[in-house]
Symmetry: C2
Subunit: 217 residues, 2 copies
Amino acid sequence: MVGNMLGIVRVWTTEDEQLLQEHSVLLRQRMGIHSISDCIPDQPYGIYNQESKAAALPKITALVKEIAADADIDAISISCAADPALDVSRAAVSIPVIGAGEAGAHAACMISDKIGVLGLTNKIPEAIETVLGERLVGHLVPDGVTNTTDLLKKETTAAAISSARQLINQGATAILFACTGYSTIHLKETIIKELAVPVIDLVEAQGMAYSMIRQRR
Amino acid sequence: MVGNMLGIVRVWTTEDEQLLQEHSVLLRQRMGIHSISDCIPDQPYGIYNQESKAAALPKITALVKEIAADADIDAISISCAADPALDVSRAAVSIPVIGAGEAGAHAACMISDKIGVLGLTNKIPEAIETVLGERLVGHLVPDGVTNTTDLLKKETTAAAISSARQLINQGATAILFACTGYSTIHLKETIIKELAVPVIDLVEAQGMAYSMIRQRR
């Protein structure tokens, strides 16, 4: 029997069930997609440097294997723009594994050859940079943003719109988020309303990828 | 005012309105997307060699410009796997232009790193080959198929399933159609039913791309 549910891997540790299921709630509300989110253990601050990344990689692969053992799950998504452990996870299980960053970058390439990236840290995620290639117009981090928590600050939305406007002035005809945190603050809707430019949200990109995979509707 | 309709360019000439609107009908029925299809003049056999391609390119760009002048249209799609005149068309108008082949190839990359391509002619479309890169597992044309008309033959479905099975045996975890003609014969549904593998249909890929662009729902 084929399942009909997406398993979502969050790459930071929380015991707050509501926070944990955030991306699953967005996917159900916006796209009618059923999913369940799970997180890696013992990394309350997620991935923030090489050491924490190295620690996370085997945990992600282990979690992917655990989720894949559930007969209700027919695909898994790693919900992080940096696509940590994507290749090894794909090699480890027989169901499709989606990477949020990679999926978002390819989605952006479907509609634009001049893409502006709105990120969270100064370094653009490697897979996103590789996929976009010459389509990458620029990569900006909104003023005052240094980590995911900053996204919740009131002034972040205005700063993000200003960055998106700057990317459009540089020639971008689509905006790609390089952080799933932007999904939580519904930045896509705000940018579309203010700037009338297509925006690729990484949680929605995972949903779009999953809609191509699922066999049962 | 922003429109909310996709303009579809068909790269062959027909006066049969039903045939002409075929992709528009599929997009409405399957995805609830509103579109209108138009075709280039004086090419009843479409694009089938270098000469006919050279003749078609300026006609495609002219048609793209004409469609873009319609205020109801907020994006244009060139509905051909070979993406003829995509770059020049993008440079010629201010609304987004989608290429069926390119959009399909990127859609496939969102869900798989081992993609098998089911084509119409021995040569794989260049943009599809470029986008897939190392993800391309193989490219096959079903036995007995040499042009779009052959797709309508009763025996084509069985031959296409056999080719798809061969691509899966070669390691493919997703099948990408490299011809919009496969949409017309609903081959995606048949392959999913028989082989339980995700299939990227080029008409649906255009619809997916458009769903990221449209501002009004």
